[in-house]
């Protein structure tokens, strides 16, 4: 096409006329760090709140013969050695204390036995496009109890044209004293996907209903009365690589 196009000159001039001050790669890195930190904080808060709420509910429904005098309810809840209704839902060798209201216990360093704490959250390190590394912070507030084993899984869903999600890939690992941290490797579909990293005994569902918010989807889809230590959303990511219209 040899004909003169006067608009080409207009657009060339526009290119040079627009002065941009890029925020820079450092700003992008800071943004990502801030978001990951915020996500971790939110997830930890959600887990702690959910645990407290479930604990309060469990305390309400205790059988009458276990009711203690009112004065005994005023102190900090103490873990008991018996498995609770909630912990019976969690597989593996670990049994956990019933969830009762009250502040988190002090760091469990030096404690023994499986029911050494009421709270816990799996932390996320260095997620990439195909791997996530998860860990229980042994030096932090929520170390693993001796012998404790925490189920963690990554579930990748593809979207259909109506925004419902269908399981594309999943992998399950267990964190314990000998496997901490652990790296999960995952695969994604070609066009649009949602990645959930969850800890706990939740079922990996084959499909999830359409929802605008992937984090809300994750929580709503996976959580139930099984909230407890190390149960929750560790990481959630949704991305669209822009396939042609009509391609999921």
């Amino acid at each position: 096409m040899a004909e003169h196009d006067p608009l080409a000159a207009e657009f060339a001039a526009l290119r040079t006329a627009v002065l941009v001050r890029p925020p820079g790669v450092r700003a992008a890195q800071a943004t990502i760090r801030r978001r990951r930190h915020r996500t971790a904080v939110v997830m930890t808060s959600v887990v702690a709140f959910a645990v407290a709420a479930v604990g309060a509910a469990v305390a309400q429904v205790r059988p009458p013969h276990q009711e203690a005098p009112a004065t005994q309810h005023t102190g900090t809840a103490q873990p008991t050695g018996s498995a609770s209704e909630l912990s019976s839902l969690v597989p593996g060798p670990t049994t956990r204390a019933p969830h009762q209201p009250g502040p988190p216990p002090p760091p469990a360093a030096g404690t023994t036995g499986p029911s050494c704490k009421q709270y816990g959250a799996v932390l996320l390190d260095n997620p990439t496009s195909s791997t996530v590394t998860v860990r229980a912070d042994q030096s932090g507030l929520y170390p693993l109890c001796p012998g404790e084993r925490v189920r963690v899984f990554v579930a990748v869903y593809s979207y259909d044209t109506k925004d419902a999600q269908h399981l594309f890939f999943s992998q399950t690992v267990y964190l314990d004293a000998g496997h901490n941290p652990v790296t999960l490797t995952y695969q994604v579909p070609a066009c649009r996907d949602a990645v959930y990293v969850m800890s706990g005994n939740q079922t990996i569902r084959q499909s999830l209903p359409a929802s605008a918010d992937p984090i809300q989807t994750g929580i709503a889809a996976y959580s139930s009365s099984q909230w407890g230590p190390y149960n929750g959303v560790v990481w959630s990511e949704d991305q669209n690589r822009g396939c042609p219209t009509g391609t999921p």
Binding site: D5, P6, L7, A8, E10, F11, A13, L14, R15, A17, V18, L19, V20, R21, P22, P23, G24, V25, A27, A28, Q29, T31, I32, P127, T128, S129, S130, V188, Q239, N240, R241, G242, P244, T245, G246
Partner: protein, 167 residues
């Protein structure tokens, strides 16, 4: 496959930030908004850079994300844009008035025609690539570009004529 070097992203960012911002500016008509969405798209690219760097055309991915962000933001805040613009601290200088005329003329085009024009004149994409990116046939892109050129030329002539009669 070689793992991507950390420097790759910096080079990628430096090479394409300005160009993409101009394209988004032509699309949205708001330079600050354009810069915001392009930076956000680069943030998302950085978060998954090891995967994106393996794509045939990583720039297309960033442009698509920025475009989607601009579109969805545009839908959500359309009614508040004017107010927000008045309140926001300007990060960059707006281009000169004659360039603003071009952007204003672009804003009057139907969205798909505007997209085609931006991809043709500012992203320098061939017809086949534009068709692929917009999910339409090449003939459709040709038609859009033809109509858009005519409309833009008419508007620019009108503005020039008004400017001439004023002066």
């Amino acid at each position: 496959m070689d793992s991507p070097r950390p420097d790759d992203f910096s080079e990628f960012y430096a090479a394409h930030f300005h160009s993409l911002t101009v394209q988004l500016f032509a699309h949205t008509g708001d330079l600050n908004e354009a810069q915001d969405v392009v930076q956000e798209a680069f943030c998302r690219a950085l978060a998954r850079w090891s995967r994106i760097v393996t794509y045939d055309d990583p720039v297309a991915w960033v442009r698509r994300v920025a475009w989607n962000l601009a579109t969805s933001r545009w839908r959500r805040v359309r009614t508040a844009v004017a107010f927000a613009k008045r309140q926001r601290e300007e990060q960059v200088a707006e281009p000169s008035p004659d360039r603003v005329v071009l952007v204003a003329a672009l804003a009057r085009l139907p969205e798909r025609q505007r997209q085609a024009v931006v991809l043709h004149y500012l992203a320098d994409l061939p017809l086949a690539a534009i068709a692929l990116e917009l999910g339409v046939a090449e003939g459709t892109v040709k038609s859009w570009l033809h109509r858009a050129r005519t409309a833009l030329a008419d508007q620019l002539v009108e503005v020039n004529a008004e400017g001439g009669s004023d002066g």
